[in-house]
Structure formats: structure tokens, C-alpha cells
């Protein structure tokens, strides 16, 4: 709704165009997968900030196998590479009891170094490659469009009618150039919800994150579940990397991940450690991520949108009684609004920092009403009776 107002006010038609929406959902995938990976890990009680490193390993794996053997090989290799990263992380934290943040940071360093080294070694002499980039990945993953849905909606969107067109834009974007990987991701999200909340396996895994000592006293092998969770976490991060390499760009490139592993963690927190919420968060962040690629008018639109959003949030917060916070938001919203009104051209850096700024703002607002797993981040040793 706010988006519609913004669009009309700024004439930035790209804000809700099919193209943008499609790209938004697209970029939501790696962020969402990272968030899902974080979810698996933290539900078992292990705080995983090494997701970025595991994602990097994934992009590299995709590039490595992808350029020689095609997309499916790249996909599988990416998952394996990410999972190995997760396993290593599990070894450090579960078996050796290293502090989880420290271990995660070490994985990030190692992932970066290893991929940089191997990239230089293997890709420099490969055709089309370079020291920090792999040769183009061979082939493409199937992407489907559903013309029956997206064509009429796209023309509806182009008519620029208030609200109707925007909704049309969103829906048609969803079905336009829908990559197979996106579909896989949606399936993974649903699978996660089912496994973790409707099976015995999932209950036990979650118990490892809520009260591992209780689980141990009931004969559950807590460490085994933690290992599974972090490996799964790494594999999902690797898959996210695969998306970036295969679908989004078509190559492995150093620096591709650009902090999306951390943004994924933020979406997990935003989603209250649940798959549904994480998916929503990923879509929001994905949308903001895309606007980097659009032009100035849209960036202006983004700023206005941000301003309007924050102002309305301020209204909600005020109603719920937290006066000071509401005031802070009011000021922030006004500042953004003034910024919008004062310039007609926004530097691209604004879009560049938008995802990260949004993450901060989201975390700052959401922090209070959250319910993380009780034993998340707490080191657990077998036999350590609390």
C-alpha cells in the first residue's frame, strides 16, 4: 500500500514493476536460504555466524564444478562444500566446545582464504576465468514463466493504476522467470516447517536448542542432532551460494556474497526463528537488495518509502505505549522525508547501504518481541548437569 503511494508520488515506476519484483524474489532466495540455514542451526542451539564463509564456499564450489561439468554438478558441489564448512564448524563448537562466535569467525576467515587461494590457482589459466573469477558456468538452470498468469498481469501493471497495478506487479513478478532453484527453495522452506514442527526428529532437534540437558536426561543424543543441524545449515548456505553463482550471475566471483550470510541471520531473527517469518523477511530484504540495480528515480522512491514506513511504524509504536522509541522513529522518518524533498538525485551509495541499514533498523525494532530458542548459543557438554 505504501509502495503504491510512493510510486505515484515519485513516478518511479520501477518500484513495483514485474522486472523488479521478479528480481526481488530472486535475490530473496540466497538471503532466505542463508536465513533458513541459520534457523536449522540455531534451533539446535548453535549460533552460526559462519554462514557467510559457508556461502562463499558454496559459490566457489558452484563455479568450480559448474564451468566444467554444468549446472547440476555445480549445484551439488556447492551444497557439499557448504556442508563441509558446516561440519568443520560443528567439530569446533560441538566436539571441542569452542565459543560459537569465535568458531564462526574462524570459518569465515578460512572460507575466504581457501577460496581465494584455489580460485587463483585454478581459474587464472582457465578460459574466460581470472584470478578472482571462474569461467562462466556451463548451462543454465531451467526457469519457468507462466505466461498465462504473468502476461495479463504485466500489462495490468504497466497501466500504472494505483494499488491494483502494484499488486499485479508483485504477483506477476513472482511467476516471471521463476528459477527452478527458487521453487526448490520454497519446497525446502515447507519441508523445514514440517520436519521441525511435526516430526519426532524435529522435536528432538529443537529440544537440543531449548534445553539440551533435559533432552540428554531423556536419552537423546544431543550432539548428534547438533551436528546434523550445523551440517544442514552449511549445506543450505552452500545452496545459497550456488544460487548467487549459477542463477544470479553465472560465474563465481570473489566478494559475491557481500554480507548476505549476515543479512540471512537478520531475516531469521526478523522471522522469529520460524520458516514463515524468515521467508517474509527474506522477501523484504531481497526487494531492497534489488533496488541497487535500478536507477536514481527508484532510489528516491526507496527513500520516500522508507520514510513513510518509518513514520507509520512510529504511529504503531506510539499506540503500543513506547513513547521514546516512537519519538526516535518519528525523527528518523522526518529526516528521511526531508532528505527526499531536498535532493532530486540520490547517489547510488544510498542503495548500496540500504540492505544493511534496513537490517539494523529491523533488528532494533524487533529485538523486544522475540522468542529465540532458550539454549541458543549456550555451550553444551555431555554430562554437564546444570
Amino acid at each position: 500500500m505504501l509502495l503504491s503511494i510512493t510510486r505515484v508520488l515519485t513516478g518511479a515506476n520501477d518500484l513495483t514493476s514485474t522486472g523488479t519484483m521478479s528480481a526481488a524474489f530472486g535475490l530473496a532466495v540466497p538471503i532466505g536460504l542463508a536465513g533458513l540455514g541459520g534457523l536449522w542451526s540455531e534451533r539446535a542451539g548453535v549460533a552460526n555466524i559462519g554462514l557467510e564463509g559457508m556461502m562463499i564456499l558454496g559459490t566457489f564450489g558452484a563455479g568450480l564444478a559448474g564451468w566444467q561439468y554444468g549446472v547440476w554438478a555445480g549445484l551439488i558441489t556447492a551444497i557439499i562444500f557448504g556442508a563441509v564448512g558446516g561440519l568443520l564448524f560443528g567439530l569446533a563448537t560441538v566436539t571441542f566446545g569452542v565459543d560459537q562466535i569465535v568458531a564462526g569467525t574462524a570459518i569465515n576467515i578460512l572460507g575466504l582464504g581457501l577460496t581465494q587461494f584455489l580460485a587463483k590457482l585454478l581459474f587464472t589459466t582457465a578460459p574466460g576465468g581470472g584470478a578472482t573469477q571462474s569461467p562462466p558456468i556451463f548451462g543454465m538452470l531451467p526457469a519457468i514463466s507462466i505466461p498465462v498468469i504473468s502476461d495479463p498481469l504485466t500489462s495490468l501493471q504497466e497501466k500504472s493504476w494505483f494499488l491494483v497495478s502494484d499488486v499485479a506487479g508483485v504477483v506477476s513478478g513472482l511467476f516471471y522467470q521463476l528459477s527452478l532453484l527458487t521453487i526448490i527453495t520454497v519446497i525446502l522452506f515447507m519441508l523445514t516447517k514440517w520436519i521441525l514442527w511435526h516430526t519426532a526428529f524435529g522435536l528432538r532437534l529443537r529440544s537440543a536448542g531449548e534445553n539440551p540437558w533435559a533432552a540428554e536426561s531423556l536419552g537423546i543424543k544431543v550432539n548428534l542432532y547438533k551436528y546434523f543441524a550445523v551440517t544442514m545449515s552449511g549445506g543450505l548456505a552452500g545452496l545459497a551460494g550456488a544460487y548467487l553463482a549459477i542463477v544470479a550471475t553465472g560465474v563465481y566471483r570473489g566478494g559475491q556474497t557481500a554480507g548476505r550470510g549476515y543479512i540471512g541471520l537478520a531475516t531469521m531473527i526478523f522471522g522469529n526463528w520460524r520458516p514463515g517469518g524468515t521467508a517474509v523477511g527474506a522477501t523484504v530484504f531481497g526487494y531492497i537488495d534489488t533496488l541497487q540495480l535500478r536507477d536514481d528515480a527508484n532510489i528516491r522512491g526507496l527513500v520516500l518509502f522508507g520514510s513513510l514506513l518509518i513514520l507509520s511504524l512510529a504511529g504503531f509504536i506510539f499506540k503500543s505505549g513506547r513513547r521514546n522509541t516512537a519519538l526516535a522513529f518519528l525523527i528518523l522518518g522526518v529526516v528521511l522525508g526531508m532528505a527526499f524533498l531536498s535532493t532530486s538525485v540520490f547517489p547510488p551509495e544510498v542503495a548500496q547501504i540500504a540492505p544493511y541499514l534496513t537490517t539494523l533498523i529491523v533488528l532494533a525494532t524487533a529485538a523486544q518481541r522475540l522468542r529465540p530458542p532458550s539454549a541458543d548459543g549456550i555451550p553444551y557438554r555431555k554430562g554437564d548437569h546444570s
Binding site: 569446533a92 571441542f96 562466535i101 569467525t105 575466504l112 541471520l265 540492505p355 532494533a364
Partner: protein
């Protein structure tokens, strides 16, 4: 600190380094390189006086970064935002220094102060988010890193603060010679060691002193060891968090100054931007101990300086990065094992001592 304590501190990182060397050698062998040639090339290059100067200069920046991180670690805070803090600090300090044409006695302290204030302020944002909104400083500092990059890029490229220094290079206004920091020579070398190295040493001493000889430092360490015990003893945990992050950020702000004041004299977008993560690695290796960190910084400096040689003999220099990554992982694991052993040992020692006493009685 007794010799035994220093020995204990260095034991695990040395062990970890050996493990890392083994792993790296294995990788080198797998790719058909000659280990002796590789390490030999690195050693011979690294021990030349010119190289030693380069190593010292690099190590200075690394040391500052690691100390900044270590202060946070001591309070169980993870300041991953050193990158953003030092780049912002350097840019602002360079811009300010470029405008000053005062004698060095005045302009240098001002430059340093500006850098510290900017770094502290940037870290302060994360600190405020943590104590008022409960946002994990791990994520907030990382986000701030990226935001800082955006701000810097904007400032240099699109505002008047960035000027055309050379072909295709934009940077802050050149700092006049009066604002430079003199270096000093060591025998045999053609280049100079940064004067800032002495400042770094002073900071290292200050770090040790603050942590171990002041009540503030005691409060800080206690908060890191047991927040509940610290509260009961009178520590205001929110204030402590903010102070610690501010100090950490202030020191982080200095990381680029050795280079800025001793060599480049302008801030450009080409400034090395990964020192924050290096600082984390070195703080982990040195176990937050000022001497351990020095060891780590020198080691890292050595590896990074000599790695350039590897390209000449056909080995990608990034092998060193792997060595570093494995070392970090090995060190943290080794330390955890050592810590558990120590607790067990101490309990046994106490048990023994007590049974002895009762036997005597």
C-alpha cells in the same frame, strides 16, 4: 608475568602454527610445489632488513587492530566492526589533517584524536543498539562495516572532500609535511619504520595496564567472566558495555594511521580494507594477551610480506591465507582443550594437596 605464564600463553599458538604448517605443506605437496623452496624463499626474503621494516610496519597496524578486538573479547563483546571503524577514522582524520598547516606537535595529536573519536563514535552506535535494543553487536558491527564503506565511497567520490590526487586516484587533500609522522631507520634498511610503531607499543602497554592494574580493567574482565558476579560486585553492565565498545572503537580508529601518517599522507579508496578481520584472527591467536598479540602480529606481518615472493616461484600467494585460516581454527581448538585440561589438572592438584595435608595430620 612469570616466564612460565608467557610460556603457557605461547604454547598453544605455537602448536597450532605447527599444525597449520603441516596442513599447508600437505596442500603444497598436493599441487606439486617444493616445500623447501617455498619456505626457503619466504624466509630468505623475510629476513632482509628492508623486509623487516615492511614487516614491522604492517605488524603495527595489525597489532592495533588486534588490541581493539581484544578489549572487546575480554568483556565477551565481539567488535567485528573494526574495519568500518578504522576506515572511517582514517578518512576523517586524513581530511582534517589535510586542512591543518600547524606544526606537527599540534597537528599530530589532533589527527590522532580525530581518528579515535570517529572510531569510538562508530562503535558507539553498535553499543547503543546493544544496550538499548538488545541487538547483538556481532551483526550490528558487521552491518556498520558495510554502511561505512558506502559513506566513505560517497564522500570520496562525490563530495569536495575527495580530490584528484593522481591519475584515476581520488583521495583526501594531501597532508602537509608538518602533519607527517617521522619514522626511524634500522641498520641496513633503505626504508624507514613508521614512527607510529612506538605509539602502538605504548598502546599495548596501556592495554595491559588498563586491564590488569586498574579497577576499571578489573570490572571489565569480571564482566566478561561472569556478568552476574560482576553485577553483584557493583559493575553497571550497560555502562561497561558502552565504555568497552567505545575504547575498542577508539583504538580501532588508529589502525590506518601508521600508514597514513608515515607513508601515504592521503586517504584513498585503495586503502587496505581487511585489517579488521586480521585483527580478530590475531587477537584469537594471541589469546587477548599483549605479548601473544605481538607475536601474532609479527607472524602475520611476516607471512603477508613474504607471500608476494611466492607468485614469483609459481605458487599462488593465497596459500598463506589458508595457513592463516587453519592456524586460527587450530589455535581456538587447542586453547579450548588446554583450558579444560588446566581445570582438571588444578582440581587434581588441589585434591592431592589436601590429601597430603590430611595425611600429614
Amino acid at each position: 608475568m612469570s616466564v612460565k605464564r608467557i610460556g603457557d600463553t605461547l604454547l598453544a599458538p605455537i602448536l597450532a602454527l605447527i599444525i597449520a604448517l603441516i596442513v599447508t605443506s600437505a596442500i603444497l605437496l598436493a599441487f606439486g610445489a617444493d616445500i623447501a623452496e617455498v619456505f626457503g624463499a619466504m624466509w630468505s626474503y623475510g629476513t632482509r632488513p628492508n623486509s623487516i621494516v615492511l614487516i614491522l610496519n604492517l605488524a603495527t597496524a595489525y597489532y592495533l587492530s588486534a588490541v581493539a578486538v581484544a578489549i572487546g573479547f575480554k568483556m565477551n563483546l565481539f567488535n567485528i566492526g573494526v574495519n568500518g571503524q578504522y576506515l572511517l577514522g582514517a578518512m576523517v582524520a586524513a581530511a582534517v589533517a589535510g586542512q591543518l598547516s600547524l606544526p606537527g606537535i599540534i597537528s599530530l595529536p589532533i589527527t590522532i584524536l580525530v581518528a579515535m573519536l570517529v572510531g569510538a563514535g562508530w562503535a558507539g552506535i553498535a553499543a547503543w543498539l546493544k544496550v538499548s535494543r538488545g541487538v547483538s553487536e556481532v551483526i550490528s558491527t558487521i552491518m556498520l562495516n558495510f554502511i561505512a564503506l558506502g559513506i566513505i565511497s560517497y564522500t570520496i567520490i562525490r563530495t569536495g572532500i575527495g580530490k584528484d590526487i593522481a591519475v584515476n586516484v581520488r583521495g583526501t587533500k594531501l597532508i602537509p609535511e608538518s602533519g607527517w609522522m617521522p619514522g626511524f631507520k634500522i641498520p641496513g634498511a633503505a626504508n624507514e619504520v613508521y614512527g607510529f610503531t612506538l605509539v602502538a607499543v605504548a598502546i599495548g602497554v596501556g592495554y595491559w595496564f588498563l586491564l590488569n592494574r586498574t579497577t576499571f580493567g578489573f570490572d571489565l574482565r569480571a564482566s566478561g567472566m561472569s556478568p552476574s558476579a560482576a553485577s553483584a560486585s557493583g559493575v553497571n553492565s550497560r555502562r561497561m558495555t558502552v565504555y568497552t565498545m567505545l575504547i575498542s572503537g577508539a583504538i580501532a580508529g588508529l589502525v590506518a594511521l601508521p600508514d597514513l601518517l608515515g607513508d601515504s599522507h592521503t586517504y584513498t579508496l585503495n586503502f587496505p580494507s581487511g585489517f579488521g578481520f586480521t585483527g580478530i584472527a590475531i587477537a584469537l591467536i594471541g589469546r587477548n594477551n599483549p605479548i601473544g598479540i605481538a607475536f601474532g602480529a609479527l607472524l602475520w606481518g611476516f607471512l603477508d610480506t613474504t607471500s608476494a615472493q611466492l607468485d614469483l616461484i609459481g605458487v599462488p600467494q593465497e596459500i598463506v591465507t589458508i595457513l592463516q585460516g587453519v592456524t586460527v581454527l587450530a589455535v581456538v581448538i587447542a586453547y579450548e582443550i588446554a583450558r579444560r585440561n588446566k581445570i582438571r589438572e588444578q582440581q587434581q592438584e588441589v585434591g592431592r594437596a589436601l590429601t597430603e595435608k590430611s595425611n600429614i595430620l
